[in-house]
């Protein structure tokens, strides 16, 4: 359990100080400041600092330091989860969580800290519930919800479904599912894939009345293998729509090149691991991999997953980087998009590192995109606003180097890519169904969207 929580600004001034137990005094805040924040070592070597019998755990966000203090052998994993949850609360409450927000809302921050920790033990931290009763005028005036009776607040804050009020009513019952994948890659200079994996996130925005029972299905290999009959989509065309007017996934993404395995083809995805929002019944998933839950209202992360097999890399990058003596470096970078020609990537940024002593760059791009040398980042930044599937683009550049008095060779950092591709999943994952059951038996409309973006997409040179 925690003995204290402190929030500092960049300089190490205490913005918030809340003690939960009597085994520490406020002055430990100074100890952390002296030993960590103002410590001359420029790189913090560890997020856990134990001095004597006091352990400090910290995370940094924007211009803040969030620090928790423990005197016992506390669970470090829990403390960091707690700090990140606190951060999430701050962002959710104030829009931004920075020095200004903390200073302007310090009363509210204290109220939150009083509510989410009792004697140093974390209590309910669900933002939707907290917003019911930890409010300020400013928050209250924005979303004018009639303040529910305290009785019902407390029931919800402690009940079996702390994440949902039971009196929600919508005229139109809708649920939006976003499948967001981050694809991670480390490619060696020789072009071998050293590691490639996909971290997926399924974010749901539910606007459903009452206490809806949801069942959610993916083209999970384990499910489909066990029960091949269910491989056909139950309500493929009817209730499942794709926003943006695109046709249902099974038709539009039927090709492998599109990255969508296409459920109709019997393709399935091997999910290496997944985690669920606390509303999902884990026991049920463990026995028959059914994902069933009563969703919170509004936006939440339903699940996270990871796949490592058959990753569809959306881009192939073929770099040639030659150092010609000590005076210049030559680049030839070819990028091929590896998804259906019907789709396209947007906001693509390719960052090609240059040596720190670069002086001048002559860059030529043939194909989409514009590139320029950015001396602050020591990189050629190549922006491609729109890059269609099955296309190619290439860049050649010659970078002149300034002579150095003490020649230090260049460490050749990797080329990195940033992009997003809509209606494409690098894992091949597909939502097969989302069923909603509610006592009143209403009709609901569900929408699904897919997006793949770059996680850390590194190509070594």
């Amino acid at each position: 359990m925690l003995s204290a929580v402190f929030i500092y600004n960049q300089k190490g001034e205490v913005l918030i100080s809340r003690l939960y137990r009597h085994d520490v005094k406020r002055s430990v805040a100074d100890v952390f400041r002296v030993h960590v924040i103002s410590s001359p070592a420029s790189v913090v070597r560890s997020p856990v600092t134990t001095l004597g019998s006091t352990s400090f755990f910290h995370i940094r966000y924007d211009n803040l330091w969030l620090c928790a203090v423990a005197k016992n052998n506390a669970s470090a994993a829990m403390v960091f989860e707690f700090l990140y949850r606190l951060l999430g609360l701050g962002v959710s409450y104030f829009g931004r969580f920075d020095e200004e927000a903390v200073k302007n809302n310090f009363v509210l921050v204290y109220e939150l800290l009083d509510e989410i920790l009792d004697f140093g033990y974390p209590q309910n931290m669900e933002v939707d519930t907290l917003k019911l009763y930890v409010t300020t005028e400013s928050v209250r005036s924005r979303n004018v919800v009639e303040a529910p009776a305290p009785q019902s607040i407390t029931m919800q804050a402690t009940g079996a479904t702390t994440w949902r009020r039971n009196d929600i009513v919508y005229k139109k019952n809708e649920a939006f599912v976003d499948v967001i994948e981050s694809v991670n890659l480390i490619l060696s200079a020789k072009g071998t894939v050293l590691r490639a994996d996909v971290q997926g996130q399924i974010v749901m925005r539910s606007f459903l009345s009452g206490m809806p029972e949801c069942k959610f299905g993916l083209n999970d290999k384990l499910v489909l293998d066990r029960d091949p009959a269910s491989g056909t989509i139950v309500n493929r065309s009817g209730s499942m729509r794709v926003s943006g007017g695109a046709p249902p996934p099974s038709r539009s993404m039927g090709t492998r090149a599109g990255g969508m395995g296409g459920v109709g083809d019997g393709e399935s995805v091997e999910i290496a691991d997944c985690q669920f929002h606390q509303c999902v019944r884990l026991g049920r998933f463990d026995t028959d991999r059914t994902i069933s839950f009563i969703p919170p209202d509004g936006e939440f992360e339903l699940m996270r997953y990871r796949t490592t097999e058959n990753v569809n890399l959306p881009f192939k990058v073929l770099p040639v980087v030659r150092e010609l003596g000590r005076s210049c470096v030559e680049y030839e970078v070819l990028i091929k998009s590896n998804f259906s020609a019907k789709l396209s990537a947007t906001n693509m940024v390719v960052s090609i590192p240059t040596p720190p002593n670069a002086t001048k760059c002559r860059i030529k791009v043939s194909g989409p995109g514009k590139a320029k040398y950015n001396p602050e980042e020591n990189a050629i930044v190549w922006r491609i606003s729109r890059f269609q599937g099955l296309q190619e683009t290439s860049l050649t550049a010659v970078v002149d180097l300034a002579p150095m008095t003490k020649p230090t060779p260049w460490s050749r950092p990797p080329i990195s890519l940033d992009f997003q591709v809509l209606m494409f999943t690098a894992s091949g994952l597909l939502v097969r169904f989302l069923k909603v059951f509610e006592r009143s038996n209403y009709q609901s409309v569900k929408w699904v969207r897919y997006m793949t973006k770059a996680g850390s997409y590194e190509i070594r040179i």
Binding site: S46, P47, S53, T54, S55, D118, A157, A272
Partner: protein, 648 residues
Amino acid sequence: MMNAAIQTNIARLQIMKAKVLAALRKGENYELKTELNSEYKERRKEAVRRVIANMTVGKDVSGLFTDVLKNMHTDDLEIKKLIYLYLINYAKTQPDLVILAINTFVKDAEDSNPLIRALAIRTMGCLHVQEVLDYLCDPLRKCLKDSNPYVRKTAVMCVAKVYDLNAEVAEENGFIEGVRESLSDSNTMVVSNAVSALVEMNDMAPNQDIWKLDPGMVGKLLTAINECIEWGQIAILETLVEYVPRDEKEAENICERVLPRLQHANGSVVLTTVRLLLKYEKYVRRADLLSQFSKKMVPPLITLLSSEPEIQYVALRNINIILQRHPALLSKEIRVFFCRYNDPIYVKYEKLDVLVRICSERNVEPLLNELKEYAKEVDVDFVSRAVQAISRLAIRYESAAEKAIKVLQELLQTKINHIIQNVMVAFQEVLRRYPNRFDSVVEGLCEYIDEVDEPDARAALFWIVGEYSEHVANVSNILTSSLESFLEEKDECVQLALVSASVKFFLKSPQKGQSLVLKALQTATEKCANPDVRDRAYIYWRLLSADPNAARSVVLIDKPPIELDDADLSPQLLEELVNELGCVSSVLQKPAKLFVYKLAEKAGVPRDSDAAGMGLDEADSAVAGGSGGSASGIDATNDGEPELLISF
């Protein structure tokens, strides 16, 4: 004279500054006092806010105690909460005045609004003042039986606070029994808080006899865990870790029922579940189950590596421990530990450690290539660890030695100074492990003699030159010119290595080496200031002049094989840390009793009084010095308690 005068003037100025500041501060408190007693509600509210703001930045506002208290009786929940916060901070300093607040507390504890009832109980418990206890007992007893679960979950926690303050009061009033009964509450949040409170009191109790988990209760907790909030799940899992199952069947059942927790989005729920499964390995005997458990552990552990860097760090430190229990657990997953260029440095270090640990003969070659990339990075410390890793792998796997030598040679060609230093040391180790196998590389190494300037690296190179003098064409040139600058060497280890190398060279080729060894020994004995170097040289000298053959058999003997020290934890510590997976001790990889003094006292470990001067005491002086004396020195966390500094 001048200086002294200036000093006194500065001192005077500082005293004046302090006085002015004090006056200002007093002024502000005075102003706040007026505001707190204002007839306008809004002004009073603003004043309370300012008091709390001042309290936050560390200004002393304890003098406003009575004025703040006057505002306590209010319907405004915000003011109420702020004043409670004030009370929590200052109650201890003014225990007799706290009584003035009691009435409001007692009244609030009977309020129709459960939020206010809970707030009152929660805050009273936090005051930590004996005088309050008498007034707390009645409301607390009622709140433990409150119809509202929110109040009940707050009340059970309050019992732990009471126990902390006065164990007898908690026992005599039957509060502990009340908490035990709460374990059967219909509300899971009450249950999990009750578990936390009982565990807490058990730890405080001298005989730990407050509560013992029995099989019936285990079943209830296993049911509750499915509906608990995440933090409650952790509390329950932690208690189950400490539980000793009656038989194998029960152990199996518990494991199977917590298994779904591995899919939880909260990384600490996952780690605590892993902790439980590892602990229960000694109770479960069925091999198929055990292998199923460890199989299920792997993917969630790896997923932790895609969470926030701090959690990744905790996970990696723990994976390091788990691997010492189950070395083969992650052998197929080596690639997920490959470092990303932008990983924080503390994550990179841990990944490197794990990589070396899980590497097998099968995947050593790709790993060596990977390490070569790391060795070219910018962070000097990381480079040095990467190069060390290469030599460790070469030493561990004979089949990898050749590849490692190749990688090291490639690294030398980068000509980057700090890489060369590290590579030289690595070469020494690998060559020593495989004598006479890589004779051909030695010649190439000697070309770098001018770039090698770190003592360790120089000593390594001289060792290599001495051992392999027959394979280097111009040994005598190298040694002669190095002897020229013998006295300028920064470190004795280089001088020692140089003397030894000269002796070895002489013994191997007496003709060529005679004048050289003489010069080496003369310089070392006559001109060197370091007694160790002189002594070593004398020994060689006497040995050589007494019996060259004996010298040969002493100096040119086969070296004992180099051993890897794999820095494994002792079995006892490993056991302890596996049971504390995810905790601070497992992150530091040190037993908890080193930094939790309560445990140390229980275990009877004498505290290291030599270290008392370090740690927080040092922090004090740093604070006082750093802030120009504005803070009147801070008192350490524990009065007079010696703090020992654990650095890692």
